[in-house]
């Protein structure tokens, strides 16, 4: 692995490319876009994982809020459901972060991957 020293202009261009891709991805799928941002910050800008995740979260505030606003224009946003899942999710993140320090996450990752695949199949056959 190596990190290329960049001219400042090319750094902004890279951030712009990452932002555009992440925004498209987020708007299209209704997710935050961290799946796109985190690996690209690491690969293109030499971020280490922790700061990539943290910086990605901060960018996601803008992306998700704006995407939700545009979706609102289409009348697709169900505000009550968003509050009912969003607020408990904040509590969940605190619990999850606490557990992460105490558990080995490998088997949980594998279990969760299985849940994702099962849900994906459920979506396809639906």
């Amino acid at each position: 692995m190596y990190v290329v020293a960049d001219a400042p202009g090319s750094r902004s261009l890279k951030l712009m490319a990452i932002g555009t891709l992440a925004g498209l991805f987020s708007g299209l799928f209704g997710v935050g876009g961290g799946t796109v941002i985190v690996p690209l910050l690491i690969l293109w800008l030499g971020y280490e994982e922790r700061s990539a995740t943290a910086t990605s979260l901060a960018a996601i505030i803008f992306i998700a809020a704006f995407g939700a606003g545009v979706q609102g224009l289409y009348g697709n946003v169900n505000v009550l459901d968003a509050v009912l899942i969003g607020v408990p999710a904040v509590g969940g993140v605190v619990i999850g972060t606490w557990l992460q320090q105490r558990l080995r996450t490998r088997s949980i990752s594998l279990l969760f991957a299985a849940v994702l695949v099962a849900s994906a199949i459920e979506l396809i056959v639906r």
Binding site: L15, L28, V31, G92, V94, L116
Partner: protein
């Protein structure tokens, strides 16, 4: 209502535990458990992500992990893409969008499995099956 709260709590725990964002669970949860259509689920998920991202950012920022200038630039530069993505999503039929989302979930699952297996190798370097 209890279903929505349960989805939120579960998605939050997984997000905190594994670093996978809430959206990848919010969307299928809203479709499968609450019966929203794919477009409504994606839109609602975006709004639900906002408080999670705010609290997560606040926590990370206290540890000094957030590179604020880059985050701001990324956030602002992503808005056009986000608008285009939403317009594209609404131009697609729910069935196509749902299948595409299912593919995304499988890719995230594959990424998780790969990461879990590489962690295993790091923790236990002798267990590569060579002995």
């Amino acid at each position: 209502m209890i279903g929505a709260i349960a989805i939120g709590l579960a998605a939050g725990i997984v997000a905190g535990l594994l670093g996978v964002g809430g959206g990848v669970l919010f969307v299928p949860g809203l479709v499968i458990l609450l019966g929203l259509d794919q477009h409504q689920a994606e839109a609602t998920s975006l709004l639900a992500i906002v408080p999670v991202a705010i609290v997560g950012t606040y926590t990370q920022d206290r540890y000094g992990h957030v590179r604020r200038a880059d985050a701001l630039l990324l956030g602002v530069l992503s808005l056009a893409g986000a608008a285009a993505g939403v317009v594209l999503a609404n131009a697609l039929s729910g069935a196509i969008l749902r299948d595409a989302f299912a593919v995304l979930m499988m890719l995230v699952a594959a990424q998780l499995v790969r990461r879990a297996l590489s962690e295993q190798r790091l923790e236990n370097p002798g267990a590569d099956g060579l002995d």
